[in-house]
Symmetry: C2
Subunit: 412 residues, 2 copies
């Protein structure tokens, strides 16, 4: 079955808020095996909303609408959806009692327009809203479904997960499963070229590449009668990718990030890690610390931005800084070794570079970065050249540092 997501709200058209509802609904629908070809944002305007719903009903089986269920005059979604399905609005007794209880509990007297929220299109099903007053709505007509959800994510998400997903599951026989293969240290186009033959003429399973900063993810998706059959379709394709990408694959689990994979490697070896960062200014440490439970392996990090900090905190020699400069292979080396000594860590990563926009020279341009990696007494330093804004460069450096760190740990 196909689904089209329509998010209603002038605040989305003005860019006042980011449309997280669309991403949430899209991900859930994909997991349910529903195909989605369009997402629409439309404002609180009767004519345009009606036109949008009618177009969506023509091209999709299920139309998911979010927003515009509130009590105020510019909340039009219910009226307009009812019109599109040729229904009139009638009061839903249960929804009215829910609204009464909701206000009574808060000691507030509802205003007249609050009762508008108890109206539902005739013959439609009201979905209870545990976190607000507007009920959701499910309407069906000739095999086409309109599902209306409140706009606030705190109301929409639990309503969708608790009530709408179980309902949608009853509509389809097939099961969809997917596996994500995450690859590092290979550029997007090269990685894709390596699987082009698999992607051509694919049907079931399919492979889709996703480029992330410093990574490429391949999602293998299969559709089958049951979960076991879907997994059986995925397995040979996953094996094939393993063969082709080898140790470039750091995980085959959707929720495992590169930093989590690195933390896991360190935990397996019972090694602790410390960081010594200049131009990235703590961004690497902060990515590691975003891994829950990282305290097992990550103990300390140094942000040695000034030369004196490099000397005083992690013992980089003044002579080294003078002779080779702060951005040099030699300084990166001493930072890695010094951080290991000061923090008493088994593994360290050091970063020194020029993130720009100023500070570059002909010999040492903006984007020049040295990353050092110390693993139990062994040190390696690599030179990199990045381009982009200050933030882009710094984010790329952190990804490159995690990739280098992983290579050094697994010994490739």
């Amino acid at each position: 079955m196909t689904v089209e997501i329509i998010c209603v709200g002038t605040e989305l058209l003005l860019g006042n808020i980011v449309n997280t509802n669309a991403a949430f609904l899209a991900e859930k629908c994909a997991a349910l095996g529903l195909s989605s070809y369009f997402q629409i944002v439309v404002g609180d305007n009767r004519e345009r909303l009606l036109q949008t719903i009618k177009t969506a009903v023509k091209r999709a089986d299920i139309v998911l609408l979010s927003g515009g269920l509130g009590p105020t005059g510019d909340d039009l979604t219910k009226d307009v959806a009812a019109e599109a399905f040729g229904r009139r609005l009638v009061e839903d007794e249960k929804s009215r009692r829910h609204i009464e209880a909701y206000f009574a509990q808060r000691g507030i007297t509802p205003t007249e327009n609050n009762w508008k929220q108890a109206l539902v299109p005739e013959g439609a099903k009201a979905i209870p809203n545990k976190n607000g007053t507007a009920p959701g709505i499910i309407m069906e007509e000739n095999g086409k479904y309109a599902i209306l959800l409140p706009g606030p994510p705190g109301e929409l998400k639990p309503m969708f997960t608790d009530s709408v997903m179980p309902y949608l599951r009853t509509l389809e026989d097939d099961v969809i499963e997917s596996v994500t293969v995450k690859v590092v240290d290979i550029g997007e186009s090269r990685a894709e070229t390596m699987v082009l033959d698999l992607m051509e003429n694919q049907s079931n399973p399919t492979i889709a590449p996703y480029a992330k900063t410093g990574e490429v993810h391949f999602r293998i998706t299969a559709r089958a009668k049951n979960s076991k059959e879907a997994q059986d379709l995925i397995a040979p394709m996953a094996e094939e990718l393993k063969k082709r990408f080898g140790s470039h694959i750091y995980t085959m689990e959707e929720e495992v990030t590169l930093e989590a994979a690195v933390a896991e490697l360190l935990a397996e070896k019972n090694w602790t890690i410390a960081t010594a960062e200049s131009c990235t200014g703590g961004l690497l440490a902060s990515r590691l610390v975003n891994v829950p439970g990282v305290s097992k392996v990550f103990h300390a990090g140094f942000v040695t931005y000034a030369d004196e900090a490099k000397q005083n905190l992690i013992g980089v020699k003044e002579e080294t800084l003078e002779r080779f400069g702060a951005v040099s292979r030699e300084t990166a080396w001493e930072m890695a070794v010094g951080a290991a000594k000061t923090a008493g860590a088994d593994v360290t990563v050091s970063i020194t570079g020029i993130a720009g926009p100023d500070g570059g020279t002909k010999e040492k341009p903006v984007g020049l970065v040295y990353i050092g990696c110390y693993v139990n007494g062994q040190v390696c330093v690599e030179e990199y050249r990045f381009i982009g804004s200050r933030l882009t460069i710094r984010e790329s450096v952190v990804s490159a540092a995690l990739v280098l760190l992983r290579k050094c740990i697994i010994g490739k």
Copy 2:
């Protein structure tokens, strides 16, 4: 003039990523005075993309497309937009040289499909991409414009701000000017309530609130025959906001971030700063380091995640950790003082808290955070309680730390 935003990418339809480009472009277009009635997300599919572009061209003057400019087989935007405008693709010499230089700088050999990115629709204008290989494109036909932008936000945002916005300004006679008043330390609803009377019945200038993490931005926008007249419309409104929000306003310049404002305050006083972070793991240091030229004031940061790191690196007493715990007012105090001593800084900020998802107790729940601030021998520590995911909590903590730091520096 009207604009329609089309974001291209199956990853958006699958909910793999949140559509921050749409919000960014919508906000900028609103600031330019362009009206927007629809936003569309469509996948990497030739037929549906063509249909979407044709519909958009019919109902809007300007069609803004993002995504699908990459080198791979499923990057179709340029082909399809050229088809919609009846153009063929020709190689753009400048774009080819840019791609050559981009890869040469990295010592990588481009694959054949990389050259696809040097193609532009005949008669179209290529927009240079400082942060990647895909140029942007501006095409015009009978007063209708198609503007193609790369999907990665790190490429799209600077390209739009630096090249597309100045171009769009030339298309309209009226001048739109806006000023952004950035407010901290007041909740969103309270801040909005404080200007409700100004927002009701507004026409020219208008005020629109934008909620950001830990901040509220008010954009005052005026439309006039020239820049001077627009500024004259804005000035009294800006004055009124100054009166109402006072020292809660940290800047009235669009491009000044909170961390840049804080760095500027420190530079004015000729003070240096060091950070000592536990649960934020370097995120605060990294936000400060993202300010160009911050080396004047920021010298060093400590990520003291483990208890031993708190003791060994910045001299938190073992007794304090044992008696009050790592997440306590007392530890935050000693971290702030210890970091100042170790780094020899005039100002320090310390952060210790429980970011979750584990590690919370009844007395010290997830989200409990202490932030300490040392300013030339004076220390203050504040207690906070945040909710959300590990990352959300950590980002909120960093914003709160910058707000507290600013208050301590300006002495409020």
